[in-house]
Amino acid sequence: MKLTAPQIEHLFIFTRQHYVEWYDLQSELVDHLANAIETQWQENPKLSFDQALNVEFKKFGVFGFMDVVEKRQAVLSKKYNSIVWEHFKDFFGIPKIILTVAMTLGLYLVLKFSDYREYIFLGTYLALFIVMFYELYKNHKATKNRKQSGEKRWLFEETIHNYGYFGGILGVPLNFMVHIFNHPETYLENEYWTVGFSFFLVSLILFLFIIFRIIPAKAEMYLIATYPEYKLIKL
């Protein structure tokens, strides 16, 4: 006996109710549950759909699908990180390294010769902060809309739009930045520190550009590469 289309639909709802919100994982789990229920029916045709489903769900253990979801998230985050790293490395290869060096040199010269070096230094950092908050806010709204629209969601799509674990990373060196601002004579009048900070700020700019612009623009390409079913459903 095979499962009917409404029963398959019920399995999709069941996975959603058990915190599997992404279509890629849902469809794999639905097929698994459906196969298992059909096998049970071969052995015991009198078993109801709900009873068979209950037996199968229990096999996933006390945490249900959580383990599968969490491990999948971890795997996709790792994949995202490696994509970010690949793009970052791109800026240190020919021809993009010219841009990286020019930006670092430009910032270095400004920090070296300007009378307002500490303000420019902290100002650049804070400007990046504002850009980050704006992007995170825009993304938060878009994710909320996607959830409400009921359209199919893909875990890797959300990893890309949530920037892996990188959202908010700019807050990490805040104290250090303020410390430099308060002691410009120690740091910004020293050649080596100034080169180092210029490079650090340029790296941050590149990093944000990669996670906020480059990767989202190529999201569809990455999704097609990750999910063969994406093309069938979306395009």
Partner: protein
């Protein structure tokens, strides 16, 4: 999974070996195949199988294919070229392990 601690480390190799023999397989099929081969001795739990498959896929050892079967999508896993090479290494490693364990558990003492 029966005696999960002992079998856990070999789960990936078991999956790779099955795929080497059967070409492409889907998750449920793998659990059933293992059950049948081991005559019910070894039951791969769903909570362990899918994370293992997803990890192997991310490592480039497995590739996925989607087919529409009945009224649902089915995700098949198969070995990539790199995965096929890696399977040979892992099987050799596992066989070494089995031999070592055997000599430890069942030593032939010579005087």
């Amino acid at each position: 999974m029966k005696n999960s601690q002992l079998y856990k480390g070999s789960l990936n190799t078991i999956i790779m070996k099955l795929l080497e023999e059967n070409g492409k397989m889907y998750g449920y099929e793998i659990t059933q195949k293992v059950k049948a081969i081991t005559q019910g001795e070894l039951n791969i739990t769903e909570g362990a199988l899918y994370p293992a498959l997803h990890k192997l896929e991310a490592e480039g050892i497995l590739d996925v294919e989607i087919e529409k079967v009945d009224n649902r999508m089915r995700k098949y896993y198969k070995l990539t070229e790199a995965g096929t090479k890696e399977t040979v290494n892992r099987l050799a490693e596992l066989e070494d392990f089995i031999r070592t364990m055997q000599s430890l558990v069942n030593p032939k003492l010579e005087f």
